[in-house]
């Protein structure tokens, strides 16, 4: 039987990927952010999962306005880093776990979560920056020749209104847990939620940051996940900036950990370009 052994959530800022790719991680400006990832790297290496189920959103890269899937799942054997307008990031191809991904697709759809199955999907910074931050080498985050873990990508629409609600995301996480536990192979799985925290990238209000709101969100991932499920769309936008709605993806990770979870580590840093960068590591309570 497969099992979920941990959860991790992190921001996925494109400028963070650029800082890694351009060798700027050790500068005075960037080093405090990257230093904060070393404990999470050590935790991940210790847990050494067979697969990461990585929840992220595509940023007008693999999907355009032609087709807007609310929830997608990557079922392919591999996913190439995308060219987002300045050439692909110099990181390894992401290896999938096709058999597990198809199992999850079937299980989730029969559980009434109507996933879009995706065979061709270049993956953008939303997926590759979290891998660099957590699987890269120390605070430099240099990518290895091959990513050490297979990845099943789960994509969530948070670009076109309306994104799925927080409760729907949390419930999808619970369904992922159920599906994982019904899988025949003995696999250890870590679930990632990515994006956020407070940030707004557009309009006259660009640059909005709300440390107090973000801190309460981090606290309540373990203390009051019920509250987090009921946060309405408008509150995310008003309090965390329009692009802070990405935080609903953290709730998929949290839902996958079961009713109770323990916090092992967190790191919060302002700014990562336009964004309050957050990181948290959780494990399911026994």
């Amino acid at each position: 039987m497969a099992r979920i052994v941990g959860g991790l959530a992190t921001s996925h800022v494109p400028a963070v990927g650029a800082a890694i790719d351009l060798g700027k991680t050790q500068t005075d400006h960037w080093k405090p952010l990257f230093d904060g990832y070393e404990p999470a790297q050590q935790w991940l290496a210790r847990v050494n999962p067979d697969v990461i189920v990585l929840v992220y959103n595509d940023h007008a890269t693999a999907f355009s306005l032609e087709i807007i899937p609310t929830f997608g799942i990557g079922v392919a054997e591999n996913f190439p880093p995308a060219d987002e307008g300045w050439g692909p990031r110099p990181v390894p191809t992401v290896e999938g776990h096709s058999e597990l991904a198809w199992h999850l697709s079937e299980s989730l759809i029969l559980d009434e979560f109507d996933m879009t199955m995706i065979n061709e999907m270049p993956v953008d910074h939303g997926l590759t920056v979290p891998l660099s931050l957590t699987c890269g080498k120390d605070s430099r985050c240099e990518a290895p020749d091959h990513w050490p873990h297979r990845v099943v990508p789960i994509s969530v629409n948070v670009v076109q209104y309306p994104p799925p609600t927080g409760k729907r995301c949390y419930d999808l996480g619970r369904a992922i847990r159920k599906a994982v536990e019904a899988y025949h192979e003995d696999l250890d799985i870590v679930v990632y939620g990515t994006g956020g925290m407070s940030h707004q990238l557009h309009g006259e209000r660009a640059g909005l940051i709300n440390r107090e709101w973000d801190t309460a969100f981090l606290d309540d991932l373990t203390q009051d996940p019920e509250r987090l499920q009921s946060i309405p769309f408008i509150e995310y936008v008003r309090e965390t900036g329009a692009e802070g709605i990405e935080l609903v993806m953290w709730l998929i990770m949290r839902g996958a950990l079961g009713d109770d979870a323990r916090e092992l580590y967190r790191h919060y840093h302002i700014p990562a370009s336009n964004t309050a960068s957050g990181l948290i590591v959780l494990e399911p309570a026994a």
């Binding site: 940023h59 890269t61 306005l65 032609e66 060219d83 987002e84 557009h202 006259e204 660009a206 640059g207």
Partner: protein
């Protein structure tokens, strides 16, 4: 307050809802086309000619040619799509954010280093906040 009124009450914010998605479809698909290197080259070699491929409005076309970042957002551009245009011109998210909020990139970066734009006073157009 209706949902639409609540959206419109948030200052300096243009939610990518059904209205903006319909209004901005061709503009955003132009941005999306810049994901391919050959299209970036074709656009930079002949901007007007390249834009003829996309049935956008004259106002949207002017916004593109004049690099009117906030104007394009008001005409239905989505920031993630528009970032492909920024990248084509060597402009970062921070550059565009500075331009949209009326300051230089350097002033904007300094604001972020100092903790970002404060939430207090930026919640609502209509109420004390």
């Amino acid at each position: 307050m209706s949902e639409q009124d609540q959206f419109d009450d948030i200052p300096g914010t243009y939610l990518f809802d059904r209205h903006r998605s319909r209004q901005g479809y061709h503009l955003n698909m132009f941005f999306f086309s810049l994901m391919k290197a050959e299209n970036r080259e074709a656009f930079l070699a002949d901007e007007e000619g390249y834009l003829d491929r996309f049935p956008m409005t004259p106002e949207q076309r002017t916004g593109v040619l004049e690099r009117d970042w906030l104007g394009m957002i008001k005409l239905g551009a989505n920031i993630y799509y528009m970032s492909k245009f920024g990248a084509t011109l060597g402009r970062s998210f921070q550059y565009m954010a500075g331009a949209m909020s009326g300051v230089s990139q350097e002033q904007y970066a300094d604001m972020m280093k100092a903790g970002g734009r404060a939430i207090d006073g930026n919640r609502s157009k209509s109420e004390d906040n």
